[in-house]
Amino acid sequence: MSRTQFHTAAGGTTAAEAADAALSASGVASGMTVLVGGFGMAGMPVALVDALIRHGADELTVVSNNAGNGDTGLAALLAAGRVRKVICSFPRQSDSWVFDGLYRAGRLELEVVPQGTLAERMRAAGAGIGGFFCPTGAGTLLAEGKETRVIDGREHVLEMPLRGDVALIGAHRADRAGNLVYRKTARNFGPVMATAAATTVVQVGGVVEVGALDPEAVVTPAIYVDHVVDLRSTSGEEHAA
C-alpha cells in the first residue's frame, strides 16, 4: 500500500523542515542503498540530499549518475563521511574534487556502470525483471567477472537489477494524488528511480490539484510516489526543483 504523503513548506514550516520530515518518514537508515536522481544539476534533488546530510544516516550506498560536484549536495554528503560506496557512470568531473580525494585515499568504494546499463538495471528492479542480457560493455573491463552469452552472434553481458531502499528525486509538479510531471531534460533518472526503490521521496516546485495534470501526460504515476516535498514557498514563489 502506498498512499502519497505531502510535506509542505508553508504555515511556518520551512522547506528544509518539510524535507527533514519526508526523510524521517521515508525510513532511510544507515547501511541503506539510496538512489539519487539528476544529471548534473538538472533534476538533482538538492533539498532532499541536504536533508539526508542532516538526517545523519551513514554507511550508505549511493546510486547516481555522477559522484558530486563542488562542495554541496552529493559532494557534501561524501565529505561528511556518510557514504561507503558509490555506484555511478561518471564520477570524474572537473569539480568532483571531494569524490576524487576520498576515492584516492581508499575511503570510498566505486562501481562504475555504463550510463544506459545503470538506467536499465534500475528499470529491471522496478519492473520485476530478474536479470537481462545486454551488449553494452561486452569485451571490456566492465564485463570482467560477469556472465556472458553470445546471442544472435553478438556477445551480451548478464546484468542484474539494481534496487534502492529509498529514492530521492526531483520533479516539476505533483498533483494531490501523487502523480508527477518533469520538466525538459530534468526528467532523466527520476522516473526510473521512482520505480526501483522501496520508498520514493520527491521534491517538487509545486503541488497542483487533482485534475490539473493531463492523465495522458503523467510521467510517474502516483503508485511510485511515497513522499512529496513541496518547495513552493509560502509567498507563492517557487524554488527550483
Binding site: 502506498s2 501523487g178 503523467v218
Partner: protein, 229 residues
C-alpha cells in the same frame, strides 16, 4: 479461537462474496480486479477508502463500467467493457503497465480460479482439455506480480469436487502465489504452511473439514476488516 463461524445463516451470495473481498482490501491499496466475478468487488469498495484501481491495459484510476452514450471505445477495462476515468488517473503503455504489476507495485489483485492448492498454487487459465484453446491473457503476470493475490471462487465444482485441493490437477497459472481464497462457504488463508480458515458461512469448520478432505487449521489471531496480513 479467532475463526469466525457464521452458522446462523446460509452461504454467501455472489454479491455478498464481493462485499467480503472489498471489506478486506486495505484503505489506499492499488488493486487490479480480474475479468468476471472479481469485477463486482469494485461496487462494494467503501467510498473514501482511497483504493485505486489498475487495469492492465494501461491505466490507474479506473472508474466504473459505463454504458450508452458515455461509452468511449478508447477507454476500456481488461474485459474490454467501456469504463470511466476518475480524477487523478494516469495512462501508460502495456510494457509499463505490466512492469508495474510484475515489479510488485500493486497491493492486491483479485482473480477467479478453477483450482487453488493448499500451498497457494493457482490454476485459472486452462482446463487442460485436449480440444481447449489455451488463452492466458494477463493471468500469469497478475498472479506473479501482486503483493496479495485474492481468489474468488465457488468452493466446489459442479460435480461436487472441491476446488481447494492438495495439489492442482489443472495446468498452473502460478506457483505458491495465492494469499487468500474467498468462497461462498469459507474464507481461507493459503499464504503460510497450513491452510487456515478465517471465516465460514452456513456451516461450521468441522463440517467444512469433512467435506474438503484437507488439513485445515483454525485461525489463531483475529484479522479484522482492511487487513490481509
Amino acid at each position: 479461537m479467532s475463526t469466525v463461524e457464521h452458522t446462523d445463516r446460509g452461504p454467501l451470495s455472489r454479491e455478498e462474496m464481493a462485499a467480503v473481498v472489498a471489506r478486506d482490501i486495505p484503505d489506499g491499496s492499488y488493486v487490479n480486479l480480474g475479468i468476471g466475478q472479481p469485477t463486482t468487488v469494485a461496487a462494494h469498495l467503501r467510498p473514501g477508502s482511497g483504493v485505486v484501481l489498475h487495469t492492465e491495459n494501461g491505466m490507474l484510476g479506473m472508474g466504473p463500467v459505463v454504458t450508452g452514450d458515455d461509452a468511449d471505445p478508447d477507454l476500456t477495462n481488461a474485459g474490454k467493457q467501456p469504463v470511466s476515468e476518475l480524477p487523478g488517473a494516469s495512462y501508460f503503455h502495456h510494457a509499463d503497465s505490466f512492469a508495474m504489476m510484475r515489479g510488485g507495485h500493486l497491493d492486491v489483485c483479485v482473480l477467479g480460479a478453477y483450482q487453488v492448492s493448499a500451498s497457494g498454487d493457482l490454476a485459472n487459465w486452462h482446463t487442460g482439455a485436449p480440444d481447449a484453446i489455451p488463452a492466458v491473457g494477463g493471468a500469469m503476470d497478475l498472479a506473479t506480480g501482486a503483493k496479495d493475490v485474492l481468489v474468488m471462487m465457488t468452493l466446489f465444482a459442479k460435480d461436487g469436487s472441491p476446488k481447494l485441493v492438495p495439489a492442482c490437477t489443472y495446468p498452473l497459472t502460478g506457483v505458491g502465489c495465492v494469499s487468500r481464497v474467498y468462497t461462498e462457504v469459507a474464507l481461507f488463508d493459503v499464504s503460510g504452511d497450513d491452510v487456515v480458515v478465517l471465516e465460514t458461512w452456513g456451516e461450521s469448520v468441522a463440517e467444512l473439514v469433512d467435506r474438503l478432505q484437507l488439513r485445515i487449521a483454525r485461525a489463531t489471531r483475529p484479522r479484522g476488516p482492511g487487513r490481509l496480513r
